[in-house]
């Protein structure tokens, strides 16, 4: 089990010691052209989570490759680059130019920009043809059948899945106006955990791909639950905002959480909550 950060929830260059506490650092999504992102206000707290509408703010592919990536490689942490775009060629061109990194995560599900017109499977297929690096498809649980999308990207050549992205949501201020300038944003935090657990479990049942599980993970117990639903790795997102020490804390909590759940190690928890049908298939 590897502990990563969720894309967009950590700047490794601003906080290298937080990144070094992880087994891999996932960048903010890189798009072909620079993006300033959405106008503020971009964040809002809700009763059980938070909304963000950052809007894929990033320096763009050229500056990322020339400036950011060399400095990220020097941190001594495996680098995962989150790649975004507005058509399959956008994604594929960036993938083709990435070297010396651990893996690529394809952001197929940002709720804060207009979605790419091409399907997830088309994008994955184009990227598969452009790079030999591991390709993780980051999917949204907002799709009516996320397992169907998982099967499609698996067939298109994805190496793994990242589940889940934030969910599109709205919060209002005191005057009944949207709290975010963009209106809607991506919902994250503890409220997402049951939704994410379902998506992970459904996709683990549908494909044999390794899964990076994320969505409201804040404790060692949360990590075990994602593993039990079929995740093979996990990522911390919103919890990093309130607690930059979360990676070490969550790791420290794992031993006690394993003992409490009656499993010898985190890896022994993987798949415990998968559906009986899957277990039958695996046994057969």
């Amino acid at each position: 089990m590897r502990l990563l950060n969720a894309s967009g929830c950590l700047d490794a260059l601003a906080a290298p010691e937080v990144a070094r506490a992880l087994d891999g650092f996932v960048t903010k999504t890189v798009t072909p052209l620079p993006r300033e992102g959405n106008a503020p206000p971009r964040i809002a707290e809700t009763a059980h989570g938070m909304l963000n509408a950052i809007g894929l703010a990033n320096p763009g592919r050229e500056r990322f490759l020339d400036d950011n990536l060399p400095r990220l490689r020097e941190l001594g942490v495996p680098v995962w680059v989150s790649v975004g775009g507005f058509c399959a060629e956008d994604y594929a061109e960036t993938c083709a130019r990435l070297t010396g990194i651990e893996a690529i995560e394809l952001n197929l599900s940002c709720p804060n920009v207009d979605e790419a017109a091409d399907s997830a499977a088309e994008i994955v297929a184009a990227c598969r043809a452009a790079t030999a690096l591991p390709l993780y498809a980051k999917l949204s649980a907002a799709h009516p059948d996320v397992a169907e999308v998982a099967r499609a990207v698996a067939a298109a050549g994805a190496t793994g899945l990242s589940l889940i992205n934030t969910l599109r949501a709205v919060a209002l201020d005191r005057n009944l106006r949207p709290a975010l300038a963009r209106g809607s944003g991506g919902y994250s935090g503890p409220a997402l955990k049951p939704v994410a657990l379902h998506a992970v479990r459904a996709c683990a049942d549908a494909t044999a791909l390794p899964i990076v599980g994320m969505g409201g993970i804040a404790t060692g117990r949360d990590v075990l639950e994602f593993l039990a639903c079929g995740a093979t790795d996990v990522a911390l997102g919103t919890v990093l905002f309130s607690d930059p020490g979360a990676p070490a804390r969550v790791r420290a909590e794992l031993a006690a959480a394993c003992a409490e759940a009656g499993v010898a190690s985190p890896d022994d928890a993987i798949g415990l909550a998968k559906s009986p049908e899957t277990e039958a298939k695996v046994t057969a």
């Binding site: 929830c9 950590l10 206000p41 707290e45 950052i54 709290a179 905002f241 309130s242 607690d243 930059p244």
Partner: protein, 240 residues
């Protein structure tokens, strides 16, 4: 990042006019440069809240809190003996090497001035503006020589020109101060989830582009900021 996050015991809480001064044990945290800020855990809430340091008594850090939302209310309700996570000091504070210092605060924006005045030494001139007489009671936390004005009298009528202004206050006040004193150092605010550059939530238009206030500021030279969000006060309230 030199900031440290520790669990700190609350040593006391007292009313300062309409605001609340919350004191915590330092527990190894440095007070930092005046104008830097700390993220304080808001019990029962998902996200911490940013506060500039108000006072640095021996062994303690003290924060002035305006309880205007669920998070600031939770922090203002802390009692001696409670524990909260405190993370800081964060961001960039004021440059203290100025020739003719004038400290200007508006409302809860007086928060960093007591520690700033102490660190500057030599009794710098201080002007504090408030929207009502009730709010102006909080001036009791400032040195006795502070010039206090209450709306409709504005701090900008207090002859700021020709001084090296170090200011903190509501956005309209900062813009007005910047117009009078182009070399002023201004402490801005923005809704903030993390305080250390991770969330990209606190962007303000700095040097003509949206940049993170927690990384670039919160104290910025007046010329660097054109305009923050259209509805900053509502945004701050929504994240309070």
């Amino acid at each position: 990042m030199n900031a440290v996050r520790r669990s700190c015991r609350v040593t006391g809480s007292e009313r300062v006019g309409l605001y609340t001064l919350v004191r915590v044990e330092r527990n190894g945290l440095e007070p930092g440069v005046p104008g830097q800020f700390f993220m304080l855990e808001a019990p029962g809430r998902l996200l911490p809240r940013p506060f500039s340091l108000c006072l640095a008594p021996p062994g303690e850090l003290a924060f002035l809190v305006d309880a205007i939302g669920p998070g600031t209310e939770a922090i203002a309700s802390l009692q001696a003996g409670d524990e909260i996570a405190v993370f800081g000091p964060l961001g960039n504070g004021y440059r203290l090497d100025v020739a003719r210092p004038l400290l200007v605060g508006g409302g809860i924006g007086i928060a960093p001035l007591p520690y700033l005045a102490e660190q500057m030494g030599g009794e710098p001139r201080i002007v504090a503006g408030f929207r009502s007489a009730a709010h102006a009671e909080a001036a009791s936390i400032l040195p006795a020589h502070t010039e206090v004005v209450v709306d409709p009298t504005l701090v900008t009528s207090c002859h700021l020109e020709g001084w090296d202004v170090l200011a903190c206050g509501p956005e309209p006040m900062l813009h007005a101060v910047a117009a009078l004193c182009p070399t002023a150092q201004l402490a801005w605010e923005a809704p903030m989830a993390c305080g250390y550059g991770a969330c990209y939530g606190c962007v303000v238009e700095i040097d003509g582009a949206l940049k993170r206030l927690c990384v670039e500021g919160p104290v910025l030279d007046a010329a660097r900021v054109k305009a923050a969000s259209d509805n900053l006060s509502q945004a701050m309230e929504a994240m309070a």
